[in-house]
């Protein structure tokens, strides 16, 4: 299949959104576009499996390479492996759900949807590009819509949050840029091509300089401690769909970059710096979990728990075993679906109660049974109930991490495991205070969620269940890509 379709669909949708007149037309166009995205993503999955069955696994399926600035060694090089396919699927799910929950956005509807679709365009481009320059191009495309989404449609201290988010993310991408240029000038042939760079022997001293730049640069996107501070503010100020995209897609750009660019291209340095990564991720996991315990605002609860959950992604990458890195990818998918759903349901509740403070709510199960059930499901997923995606992902990370012997790794793994207990505490407390107990007077007359919100929740729950009940298809999908990276690292 031609990967350019993945770019064309969001691009056309975005242009069409700008062209049509009324708000309803905008929504219909955006919804149609995002349904198409999901269809294409599922089709890509099928085509990918057929291709693997026919040609075996390699690093770039459906590859295509066009000249773009040939005098600088930049080419429009596209191709996917299993990891990219899983990320594209995740993106398509989150985009569809995000478009659905925003059905009642009234302020500047057209611009809102335009930015949402533009963000998904950046994300797809990022996942399919095999040229660092193109990858960077799409990475930056995905940042600015977030700034505008938060600063125009956000709530609370939105200007502060929007600035903080945009500047920190752009700061991250500036580091990525420097690391990228370091790689560009090392080889005999000046090139940004990921596969050509991978084939070159990059000297260890260059790796030592470039790896921290690339890893920290991408790490900022995925809430690497201590660069996670944009996460709570950004998520809590963003409009519902904005938070969903931020947690569900944007943070995954970082994890994917850490894995596919930093770890893949710089195996020697990855091995060398692995222990530092583990320390940082263990801190993020524990700190995120304990910080969540102190939060009273539902959005802050989910934002801080995202820091903790994304810590598992980094931990999995840092442990450098096949199992753990597999787990990291699974955790990206799982966390993407789960957090998107969590933010969606918080949005539904806030829309009606006009508060996000846990202690001001109570008994919502009686007035809003659907929303409360979804909240319960997502809570269970977050604390790792078997049968849902969170369990599969975290379990894989733990088992994979345990394969690393040695006191240091064991302690880090155990510390990370302990966070599950803390997660259980804050999730159960938040869910019970919100949904259980007697109904508060002022909430007695509330109506349950509307059709579009239900649909959005169903889409994401379908994804969570598909991953939780049948994890093997996803594992099989990502495993060859992960093995390629780990083999490179172990080969040294």
């Amino acid at each position: 299949m031609n990967l350019v379709i993945l770019l064309l669909i969001p691009l056309l949708t975005a242009l069409l959104v700008l062209l049509v007149k009324s708000a309803t037309q905008v929504k219909v166009v955006a919804l149609t576009g995002s349904v198409f995205q999901l269809v294409i993503a599922v089709f890509l999955l099928c085509a990918f499996r057929t291709d693997v069955a026919a040609n075996g696994n390699h690093l770039a399926h459906f590859e295509q390479n066009h000249q773009w600035f040939p005098s600088l060694g930049i080419s429009f090089h596209l191709g996917v492996d299993g990891i990219a396919v899983s990320m594209i699927l995740l993106t398509a799910f989150v985009v569809l759900a995000g478009v659905l929950v925003s059905w009642n956005v009234e302020k500047m509807t057209k611009e809102f949807y335009f930015l949402l679709i533009l963000l998904s365009f950046g994300a797809y481009g990022f996942f399919i590009s095999l040229d660092l320059f193109v990858l960077f191009f799409f990475l930056e495309i995905a940042v600015i819509p977030k700034y505008l989404l938060i600063s125009i449609w956000g709530s609370g201290k939105k200007e502060y949050s929007a600035n903080k988010l945009a500047l920190m993310l752009m700061g991250g991408s500036a580091l990525v840029l420097v690391g990228m240029l370091g790689l560009y000038f090392t080889g005999n042939e000046k090139t940004f091509d990921l596969l050509k760079l991978a084939a070159q022997q990059i000297p260890t001293d260059v790796q030592q300089i470039c790896f921290p730049l690339l890893f920290v640069g991408f790490g900022v996107f995925t809430a690497l401690f201590p660069f996670h501070t944009w996460v709570p503010d950004g998520h809590s100020s963003a409009p519902t769909a904005g938070s969903m995209f931020l947690a569900g897609i944007s943070m995954k750009l970082g994890g994917y970059g850490c894995l596919k660019v930093a770890a893949f291209l710089l195996p020697a340095a990855t091995k060398q710096y692995g222990d530092y990564i583990i320390v940082l991720s263990a801190i993020a996991i524990l700190y995120g979990a304990f910080a969540t315990m102190m939060q009273k605002d539902l959005k802050y609860i989910n934002a801080y728990s995202s820091v903790s959950h994304c810590g598992f992604v980094i931990l999995g990458i840092g442990m450098l075993t096949k199992g753990s890195v597999n787990g990291a990818v699974l955790q990206m998918v799982s966390h993407g679906l789960m957090t998107a759903l969590f933010f969606a349901v918080i949005g539904m509740i806030y829309e009606r109660t006009h508060t996000r403070q846990v202690n001001e709510m109570g008994g919502l199960l009686k007035v809003m049974p659907f929303a409360s059930t979804v909240l319960f499901i997502v809570g269970m997923c977050s604390l790792g109930l078997p049968g849902l995606s969170g369990f599969v992902a975290e379990m894989t990370v733990f088992v994979g991490s345990w394969e690393r012997t040695g006191m240091f790794y064991r302690i880090a793994t155990i510390a990370a495991c302990m966070s599950i207990v803390v997660t259980a505490v804050y999730i159960l407390r938040a869910v019970s205070r919100t949904a259980m107990g007697p109904v508060k007077e002022q909430f007695a007359g509330l109506k349950d969620v509307s059709w579009y919100e239900k649909l959005a929740a169903v889409v994401l729950i379908a994804g969570i269940l598909a991953m939780g009940l049948f994890p093997s298809w996803l594992t099989k999908l990502v495993e060859p890509g992960v093995s390629a990276i780990i083999n490179r690292i172990n080969g040294i």
Partner: protein, 466 residues
Amino acid sequence: MLNDFFILMKMELLVTVIIFLLLLVKLGKGISNDVLLPIIQVGLLLNFLAGFFLNKEGILFDGMYYTTPLAVVQKSILNLGVYLISLLFADWFRRCENLAEFFVLMLSALLGMFFMISSGNLLIFYLALELSTIPIAAVVNFDLRMKKSSEASMKMILSSAFSSGILLFGISLIYGITGSIQFAELSVIVTQSPLQILAFIFFFTAFAFKLSIVPFHLWTADVYEGSPVAVTAFLSVISKGAVAFIFLTVLYRVFHSLNYTWYHLLVALSVITMITGNLFAIRQDNFKRFLAFSSIAQVGFILVGVSADSVAGQTSVVYFILVYLFSNLGAFGVISAICANTGKEKISELKGLYKNNPFLTWVLALSLFSLAGIPPTAGFFGKLFLITAGASRADYWFIIVAALNMIISLYYYLIVIKTIFSKADDQSVQKIQLLPSVKLGLMICAAAVILTGLMSWVYDYIAALK
């Protein structure tokens, strides 16, 4: 020979023809601005088109005049800029009392720049530099009733006279040491003796004045603020571009043997210039002052590319100036339209611009995104190529500082973007009726900002030129 003369000097000759045409028009009476302006526009457009034909390398007047296909492209870029200025600021031009004089002066400056780019000799270089500066000082003062405009003109003439003095001192030292004023000879003779380095630094300082490199930038903000918008746009884009082009020639060709000296000089000045420009831009509320400081920061960026000392460096600088021209003129065009219709010139007064003027808002947003270097606008490519060229020296700290400065600049551009898109109130800008030529100019800028980067042949075309 005569044939060569016409072909090699076609850009200069065509501009001269327009200037004389305007002088003739001034002799007769009764041609209104509405007729005069289109004539000028057509003339400039023809000159721009002429830049695509019959380009070759050649020397005239015993090496005083030297042109290459790259020089013609550089002249075409400047010419295109003046053409866009004549479109974008039509509001102001139509009300201008002495339009013919205004363009005679502006085009003389442009002619000076053309000669400067093609100069092959220190004297003609100095002459051309003066020709490109003095008329500008006169047009800065064109808002005759505004006190600020006269003040700006005074500052401009004093500071440029000062920098010319330093330049002449540098030139005389160079001549005293080497006994030559020809660029071609100098490039062989110049050595690293302390006196020559001193002479070079005097020479360099004059460029720093013209490019408003920190610490020689102090005239910039006041002059930009006091001048009519059209002149501010000319100063910030065309003047800067012309000096940057000749700067490349001087550093890469004439003083190449001193490249160790000027590389370190450039790195230091680039870092201070970027940081100062950015930090001062954050605090500005007047849009012209804001763009003045942001243009100082952009010059810091251009120096990153210049420091590369390679073909990639040269190409990236020329490419960046092209991109910068579209982005900056787009921004100035929008501000001029708003200012001409409502008198608003402050960033805080632009709140809610989007509600009544979506087209202007999008053009301004695209221009600012391009200045900030956000994809898919051309500014992203321009800045990235400058950094890529500069990074070839593997000076990681320099590149990190440059990349982080992009973040600081993003902060203040985003403030403006947020302001224009934010909620409108009673004070927000009314619906503005745009003149057709302004609309055309803005459309050209917006389309170019989106397409120049994505269409990679633009870069490759410049890269392929000698």
